[in-house]
Subunit: 366 residues, 4 copies
Amino acid sequence: MGFNFGETLRVQIFGESHGEAVGCVIEGLPTGMPLDLQKVERFLSRRSPGKSNISSDRVETDKPKIISGLKNELLTGAPLAAIFENHDVRSGDYEAISDTPRPNHADYAAFVKYGGYSDMRGGGQFSGRLTAPLCFAGACAMQFLEHSGVHIGAHIERIGDVADCRFDPLNISAELLADIALKDFPVIDEKKSKRMIAVIEAARDELDSVGGAVECAAVGLPAGLGEPRYYGVENAVARIIFGIPAVKGLEFGLGFGFAEAYGSYANDSMTIKDGKPAFLSNNCGGCVGGITDGRPLIFRCAFKPTPSIGRKQNTVNLKARENAEIEIKGRHDPCVVPRAVPAVEAAAALAIADLMLLAKPVFGGR
Amino acid sequence: MGFNFGETLRVQIFGESHGEAVGCVIEGLPTGMPLDLQKVERFLSRRSPGKSNISSDRVETDKPKIISGLKNELLTGAPLAAIFENHDVRSGDYEAISDTPRPNHADYAAFVKYGGYSDMRGGGQFSGRLTAPLCFAGACAMQFLEHSGVHIGAHIERIGDVADCRFDPLNISAELLADIALKDFPVIDEKKSKRMIAVIEAARDELDSVGGAVECAAVGLPAGLGEPRYYGVENAVARIIFGIPAVKGLEFGLGFGFAEAYGSYANDSMTIKDGKPAFLSNNCGGCVGGITDGRPLIFRCAFKPTPSIGRKQNTVNLKARENAEIEIKGRHDPCVVPRAVPAVEAAAALAIADLMLLAKPVFGGR
Amino acid sequence: MGFNFGETLRVQIFGESHGEAVGCVIEGLPTGMPLDLQKVERFLSRRSPGKSNISSDRVETDKPKIISGLKNELLTGAPLAAIFENHDVRSGDYEAISDTPRPNHADYAAFVKYGGYSDMRGGGQFSGRLTAPLCFAGACAMQFLEHSGVHIGAHIERIGDVADCRFDPLNISAELLADIALKDFPVIDEKKSKRMIAVIEAARDELDSVGGAVECAAVGLPAGLGEPRYYGVENAVARIIFGIPAVKGLEFGLGFGFAEAYGSYANDSMTIKDGKPAFLSNNCGGCVGGITDGRPLIFRCAFKPTPSIGRKQNTVNLKARENAEIEIKGRHDPCVVPRAVPAVEAAAALAIADLMLLAKPVFGGR
Amino acid sequence: MGFNFGETLRVQIFGESHGEAVGCVIEGLPTGMPLDLQKVERFLSRRSPGKSNISSDRVETDKPKIISGLKNELLTGAPLAAIFENHDVRSGDYEAISDTPRPNHADYAAFVKYGGYSDMRGGGQFSGRLTAPLCFAGACAMQFLEHSGVHIGAHIERIGDVADCRFDPLNISAELLADIALKDFPVIDEKKSKRMIAVIEAARDELDSVGGAVECAAVGLPAGLGEPRYYGVENAVARIIFGIPAVKGLEFGLGFGFAEAYGSYANDSMTIKDGKPAFLSNNCGGCVGGITDGRPLIFRCAFKPTPSIGRKQNTVNLKARENAEIEIKGRHDPCVVPRAVPAVEAAAALAIADLMLLAKPVFGGR
């Protein structure tokens, strides 16, 4: 259990790092919707490994193979299913360490949960590889959203102690989001990219890893999206975001900054602008009570450092029940954040698309 | 839509602030389980308003009326339904402001979503009053968890710029949690309570409000709880936590602190202790890959300041489509955090109990 | 578990026969929809007991008390919750038989399932009394459907060996359905009502009971309703219909008659009528592949005889583990079918409304 | 939407008749459970086409390719995904008829629903080919059930006017079910098989088709299985059974026979047998109130005749909006029932396994 989500837009992820393939099945997108596969692949290429010296050198083409649901690049109404075959698999890297759980990996928790039956080669079902089908599903959802004028984009908000500037919460354009998406290293403030890369390279050189954060925005959202309480925008985003490996925190708008704030400062005043209700600030991050209000939706999520590091670490041998040391070889990004950016966008797109498909007009269309 | 959650432990909340009653229906707790109603009511009294001069003076007894599912204080297997009747309702306080959305309240978003049909007296379905049935459901879940040796507790981690000390992440006892729960103002470090109360009173005196944060822990959890990816512990907690009004951030373990950390620091090493695998630190907050590993589960959530403040604020008149000012009278806590503590515990209990009821042993019981 | 259903129109039933009340919570109907409570009550009165000498003389007013979700007879968008208080409860009738399961009642299955914790007075959660909230929810769904031109109605198709005529499957008018609903004893062929009542009265006089069947139709349905395979019209109706006590069979169109038929006979030919595609017969009962095609939806369901009969029956004493005899006193309808007619309509309305709320237009509105 | 089901045992089906492949994803079976793939394939071979002159001569090996979730023939805890590649696809057979809906096929309903975007070659997502992944999932569920002593089997109960004898409802052995499963033409009374085959061959020779019914039983079920009302055994079976193409009716125990019966006849008396409560008959088909009671579960479902027949039929041309005639060539079974038998077993297995995984012991194990 655990690999499915969504109320009206349902997604089922499947696969293991070193199995035949990873993939997904999507139900609920509108029949007849065009799906631009080249655009999907461009999106997927943003998470692909093997592109630079700060990412894993596992090379997978990340080219989805459509199994069903698409004919002449139009959705047929059948479940949209796609798989990504696993090719560049080197199991040998992992076998030696199967009894010695890697710190901050799911190895130990999975060992207890699955009684050792889990196929933990390459991280098994916990592998970052499963963000490939998530990104596929998200790319499809983004195309759906774009037809409604909704655009989603994210940037690296922080790597270690280097922070990018944040979105201007009331002024985010679809163009800005598109520009960032084109960048090899997606930040707003170009000057920060070199410094961030330097932090990552230094971590790699020291056989270490480093954490970071991603900030994501959705613009063009209609007001009134989200169901109060447990199907709100925040709940829906959270449900999927915490399914991205290494995410350990999530905040909307001021987020944890609210904890230190006063109402007189934090409250977003309203005004009439061009004859319509508008806001003078966006501390709330675009939603109140779980419901959007026409402002950009803004959230940030924190990633822990890649747990796999080359340094010697203390662990245990589960069979021998004795202390052990571990030095992790294998192919690992010293920082997952750059490749996680599209996964965050995908999660946001899927959460928002689900809520849009769930939304009902009020009676009589008022 | 929006007031139900849970896979195996299903909860349906209902009610509006100024309707007949608020309530909930719970399915999935074990038939025959004793339910100590006095204990439930003691738990509920922790969120009750009207107890002190830093909370709203709306007085509701918060005494649940059991509709079905309980006989001789034992669960019968039928849905457990309970209602809280609404008595102390003063609609007059709200009627004047129905066309002028209160900043940072859901008023505007709800107006757009519901086309003005919503009963927004007292906040309607967005009211904090609906945490009463949430707490009822949570109190039932906590009794279920206690039979399995799981204990949940929370404290006020921050009010404005005053921070309590945090839980020692590897050493949290059920006794400590029980002690905190007995306090009128639940903090770990007693010295901080006066300072926090002073911050709240100052906010109230200045017709302002203030935000804060709550830290919550669950101890006694079995390792292996949670389903990977989208039904993990973090996902399940997040789904419900973001349903508590005013929550805008959530983090597990180091949370956003991970974003600035290196793997060599953040990784939790393991060791053999008393012949069993153990951890030397708990930066992960008790779960990796969404699955518990026997350490305490620890998370923090941030609350925005109460949006209702007495000061004059800029808003709009939705009917006249012109700018307006608003001074909110009514009865409001200047800080929601103290009364939100049991709601956070309830949310954690419901998420964890759901996962425990969903968990399946591995084949052959290995 | 077990008392909730629906994907987009979610219904949660609760209550026990001899508890405080029975009730339901409904999410998903359009905000702002008018709800005519008098019409709801008229519908509910059709299932009320105590009206004649062929039904139980337990008298309950069956008047719903709205808890939330309605203001000025318009839906507010909050969960619509209603309860029916239990008044006329005579537990004494049941206590004597708690150790001796009544044949064809759920007593024995419930005893094993719930370990004796269940409150089986009056049938507990298995009681026909819980069709009151089902009918309430169904009455609300019917008002929603009527705004879309969909009308649902049912008649007693059989009592023992007396059969009513069946609907003419291509020609069913909303007026016919409305006429039948007004009848005290809802049949198409008036001449049959006396004979059916005679069968029921004879059964009662002989301390016996008798089974029957109900035929239900929905007209005005759009073509294209229902999701293929597991959320089709047939699946959705079946899910709820088998939740009505005593239902043991369900068939659509020719139903079991198809098993003896040839394709050349059973296939419904098409023709152009008034410039539009139309059908020359309706053996399929209005849906193929789980999807409606504009013809009336028609199904029949079979009810077993009321298990409670006055005659001496063989059973066991669960405590003494010995054979026992039982003569059931209490208040029981000798035939549940007449009062079950509105429950069947309610089930159909809820299934269809759920599918209508779930339906998505094809891309671009084609 | 529409291709997923299950609460705790979740199944997602996908694929189209003439796409790349059909397949399924299953979550919820116990980690570490052995999965005998040869046994799965033997089960699948029972529904394979091309075996005899009374079935379609489309030849597909029906050999599943495992994508994830299995290692060394043990379930790993990851989603179990399998695909069946489509090889023997002859689209030409269908193209000519795309504008002329075939009577009793989903063509017209699908045309309206999907606006013509659906890939209807070979029936698309409505194809019987999608029972291959259903049978795969069911075969896995059956292996799970067998570990708990539950055995499921079905036989052809009727083809046209030839009826097999029915199961003796109190005396069905696992051996009997296994014996029937070995037969090429699964009936209880061997003498009937020739007569049934003759009916099918006659239909084929006359370019016609014929309907039938399947009777299915599950033995070894624990008492107390099923959740009352909407997750009962009957509801769960119905939800999946009506997802098998051509099923139009379903009845449990006496089923529609109850409608003509009296309580004094239909009630199943109890007795003490070998010191335990037992039943003297099984009219209820093994469940009351949706809950099993230890007797065999017995249901029958009716299948309509294959809609594709070679005879000239009246239909319409959707483009030209005029009457048309159709003679269906292609490869079609004159009767779907023989190949549907394993699909019925699969549906029953999946429904029952889901309920077993959902079941909770009463508090304290009483």
